[in-house]
């Protein structure tokens, strides 16, 4: 097997598509950087200096590279979560909340339930708790959509705020450190910390493996085939014996698990504690990550890395060149717009399109009143 593409299904087309997609993505990135450069210059800063600072803070030297990779990990997992959902026609904007929910449950396990347990017990439990927390959180939005027809765009956004407040509540109350000084949890015991090599924790290679798994799922399994079918045409999928509601729930839970995993990895691999601003908005940037990757799980890896560079380098740019870090947000925003715009040319939006129609199509012909 030479790749994770749908072998034989579309060999030549995949190669062509891959080339054109890569070109488009690169174009979006370049163009966005160009505009950001112009804006930086207009603000009276030197774009050359800014780019130098950005690269120095993100790519040049082991410390910078490590910082970038640590940002890439959560972006990769949440980006994957968003990409899978969009493929199935579910607008999951809630990766941020799912990340927090996962972090919360993982912290609960590590600092309250399994204190003093050996790593072989604590680590798997913590990871599972992260995935479970995210999945359960996402399931709320999924269930609301399937049972009550609540648009998941709204519910997932709102659930983000709820999850963030829930974490806030926890670290001010039941989960607050024993010292009671700051609104943060106890430090995780060494046994509950992910193994790491040169500060790169185990979660990052796991995330890359999950991207491979996600690609395999989408293009090589019956389950992924059904997800894609529902994403493109819920009505035709129903006529083919696929129950769109079930696919929707399955997908959003899977996505929640991935985002929740990102939360658990942050706590256990990076910060060692849970606190309020654990994520600098990974779950939102994830949408840009997924769109730039044109919803392909494998492409999410380089896409997440690119946004990791922005995330890590933006701070350096501010410190060293004095350029406000919002300049990197500008790049993010423009990349989103351009990825959507470029997608519009070749059916990429059609790929995302059924999402907008999904609420009505799901209420179409019902399979014997069966929902699940």
């Amino acid at each position: 097997m030479t790749g994770w593409w749908p072998r034989g299904l579309a060999r030549r087309h995949v190669v062509e598509r891959f080339a054109s997609d890569t070109l488009r993505a690169a174009g979006a990135v370049l163009f966005a950087s160009l505009i950001a450069g112009v804006v930086i210059a207009a603000l009276g800063f030197s774009p050359v200096e800014a780019i130098r600072a950005l690269l120095a803070g993100s790519l040049i030297g082991p410390a910078a590279l490590t910082a970038t990779l640590l940002k890439t990990g959560p972006l990769l997992l949440t980006g994957l979560a968003v990409a899978l959902c969009f493929r199935c026609g579910v607008w999951n904007i809630g990766a941020e909340g799912q990340l927090y929910a996962g972090a919360l449950l993982a912290t609960l396990v590590a600092t309250r339930w399994l204190v003093g347990a050996p790593a072989v017990l604590v680590l798997p439990c913590l990871i599972l708790a992260g995935a479970l927390g995210g999945a359960l959180w996402a399931a709320i939005a999924g269930a609301l959509r399937v049972m009550r027809g609540v648009n998941e765009v709204i519910s997932t956004i709102l659930l983000n705020f709820v999850a963030i407040q829930l974490v806030s509540l926890a670290v001010h109350g039941p989960l607050q450190e024993s010292a009671g000084a700051y609104p943060q949890s106890d430090a995780l015991a060494q046994a509950a910390r992910l193994p790491e090599l040169a500060r790169i924790h185990l979660g990052i290679p796991i995330a890359v493996l999950l991207a491979l798994a996600g690609s395999f799922l989408l293009f090589h399994t019956a389950a992924g085939f059904r997800m894609r079918a529902v994403g493109l045409s819920p009505v035709a999928a129903r006529f083919a014996g696929i129950v769109p509601e079930r696919q929707l729930l399955l997908t959003i839970c899977l996505a929640g698990a991935l985002a929740g995993l990102a939360g658990a990895f942050e706590v256990s691999g990076v910060t060692g504690r849970l606190f309020e601003s654990l994520s600098p908005g990974y779950g939102y940037t994830a949408i840009a990550v997924a769109l730039l990757a044109r919803l392909h799980p494998l492409a999410v890896v380089p896409s997440a890395f690119f946004f990791g560079v922005l995330e890590a380098g933006g701070g350096a740019m501010q410190r060293e060149a004095g350029v406000p870090a919002v300049a990197t947000d500008l790049v993010k925003g423009i990349v989103i717009l351009l990825s959507i715009g470029f997608a519009a040319g070749v059916g990429g939006v059609r790929r995302v399109g059924p999402v907008a129609r999904a609420p009505t199509s799901l209420s179409g012909p019902q399979a014997d009143g069966e929902v699940l």
Binding site: L9, A222, G369
Partner: protein, 513 residues
């Protein structure tokens, strides 16, 4: 240029030496010349995939030609700038082969938006009264207030035609407008088109039904594999001649092998007292009794919108029955997609773009669409067997002569007829015991229609049952061993000796035997 031609007014539009290919080395149009004069109905004929829709899309600026020239009323057009809005300004409007109405909007709303005379605000009452007036004037019945996505294929088609007629275009293009209309509706449409002609407008009419072309057209252009194979004037028209130009051969009459007979005692499928709610203000189904035996084709004739879609959805397993029962092999069955499939009931959707195929999926992915839950050929242990799937698709492509012969191509890039062939091929492939076929030849050219008819008869000869739900009365009469009419959600038997007028009366009024 002939003398007659020179004397005529300038053509409304003239395309010269148009070349188009979407994929390199696969030309779709080759040096095509085409023009429409004021006050003429110009028919465009050709096999499935000949390039008719593509040529018309170039004419209204949706698709850009690779080479060639366009002149509107004698003035050359800058090809690079010619887009849909330029075409609209030039007074060109089109009824597309596939619905272009906004699914989530009502028919009235669809009629109003992009209407230059509409003003800024949407006036519901005015829109409703205009729709009523239009339906009345053109005798095309569209349920007011219904959302487009709840409409049947035929209703959508009618709404689309009304919208185009309403725009008062100088040049009206109709891409297979009659594919989903009943003969009665078609007959009502023709005078409207003739009135347009009389008022000096131009009409392009695409159809696979040669008798319609014969009745209507002043001139006919025939496309064959992307090149013009001839342009004929009205006097020279003759259905046989046209068929020959299109196919390059003659078609013999359909042979109807005698049924395998016997076994009439127990029906393969039986519906008893079926009632189901209607869609989008539709009539629903009331107390429907229907049986199909092995080796039998039962035709359900009727005007679309009289319960066809509800009946189809119940038999496909996606619509709930309010009351009544479905029996297969004498055993009651809860209609559910996968249950029915496992019993050998196959469903050929009448709405291929929405319910039958998935645009955006390749031919192969569409081929295996309905197998994703069965652990047999294309999926095993939850994994997709891509090589087996594309091999099976390639076999079907060859057998049904589908172009492009590329299993990896996106179904959205197929011509209407080729997409239909793929859908038909898929449903026939599993050796169904019962095929529920809804308008199986919609959009197919003469040759492919013949091929599908032969396939249905072959199925019957192999002792399978076919329930043929069709708005095409000729098709029902040609193929069915026994006919019923579906009218306002009720089934009425059609006596074997009824003539067309009697059948028409049964279909409309429902008062029959």
């Amino acid at each position: 240029m002939s003398a007659a031609r020179a004397g005529a007014a300038l053509p409304l539009i003239e395309l010269t030496a148009i070349d188009k290919s979407f994929v390199p080395q696969r030309p779709v149009l080759r040096r095509v010349d085409f023009d429409v004069r004021p006050g003429e109905i110009h028919a465009l004929l050709g096999e499935n995939g000949a390039g008719k829709s593509t040529l018309m899309n170039i004419l209204i600026g949706l698709v850009r030609a690779n080479a060639g020239a366009i002149e509107i009323s004698g003035r050359p057009v800058d090809l690079a700038r010619f887009g849909p809005s330029a075409a609209a300004r030039a007074g060109i409007s089109m009824v597309h082969q596939h619905s272009t109405l906004v699914p989530a909007m009502s028919v009235e709303e669809n009629l109003c938006f992009a209407d230059p005379s509409g003003g800024l605000l949407f006036d519901r009452r005015r829109a409703a009264s205009r729709l009523a007036e239009l339906s009345q004037r053109y005798q095309l019945d569209v349920p007011p207030g219904a959302r487009v996505e709840d409409l049947s294929v035929g209703q959508r088609q009618r709404a689309e035609i009304l919208r185009a007629l309403d725009r008062g275009a100088r040049l009206l293009i109709l891409d297979e407008p009659t594919a989903a209309l009943t003969p009665g509706e078609t007959a009502a449409l023709f005078p409207a088109l003739r009135r347009l002609r009389a008022s000096g407008r131009g009409v392009v009419f695409i159809s696979h039904k040669l008798d319609e072309v014969e009745a209507l057209a002043d001139r006919v252009t025939v496309l064959r594999r992307g090149a013009v194979s001839g342009t004929l004037a009205a006097g020279e028209l003759d259905a046989r001649e046209l068929g020959r130009l299109m196919l390059g051969r003659d078609l013999s009459a359909l042979e109807r092998p005698s049924a395998s007979g016997g076994e009439r005692s127990s029906p393969l499928m039986r519906l008893r007292g079926l009632s189901a709610a209607g869609l989008g203000g539709g009539c629903g189904l009331h107390d429907v009794d229907l049986a199909v035996h092995r080796g039998e084709i039962v035709g359900v004739a009727g005007i679309d919108g009289n319960g066809q879609r509800e009946l189809e959805e119940v038999l496909a397993g996606v619509r709930r029955m309010d009351s009544g029962s479905l029996e297969v092999d004498g055993k009651p069955v809860r209609p559910h997609v996968r249950t029915l499939r496992s019993l050998g009931v196959s469903h050929l959707s009448g709405d291929r773009e929405r319910a039958g195929l998935i645009p955006g999926f390749s031919l192969t992915e569409n081929w295996i669409l309905k197998a994703s839950h069965s652990d047999e050929r294309f999926f095993s242990h939850g994994l997709l067997r891509a090589a087996t799937a594309s091999e099976a698709t390639r076999v079907a492509i060859a057998h049904f002569d589908i172009t492009p012969a590329d299993a990896a191509a996106d179904v959205a890039t197929l011509s209407g007829g080729n997409a239909q062939k793929l859908a038909v091929a898929r449903e026939l492939s599993g050796e169904p015991r019962l095929l529920v076929a809804v308008n199986p030849t919609r959009g197919l050219d003469v040759g492919s229609t013949r091929f599908v008819h032969e396939q249905l008869l072959a199925l019957r000869a192999r002792a399978a049952a076919v329930l043929l739900i069709s708005t095409e009365l000729d098709e029902v009469l040609l193929l069915a061993d026994r006919c019923v009419a579906l009218s306002r959600g009720r089934v009425h038997a059609i006596p074997a000796d009824a003539d067309r007028a009697a059948i028409g009366a049964i279909m409309l009024g429902g008062q029959g035997a």
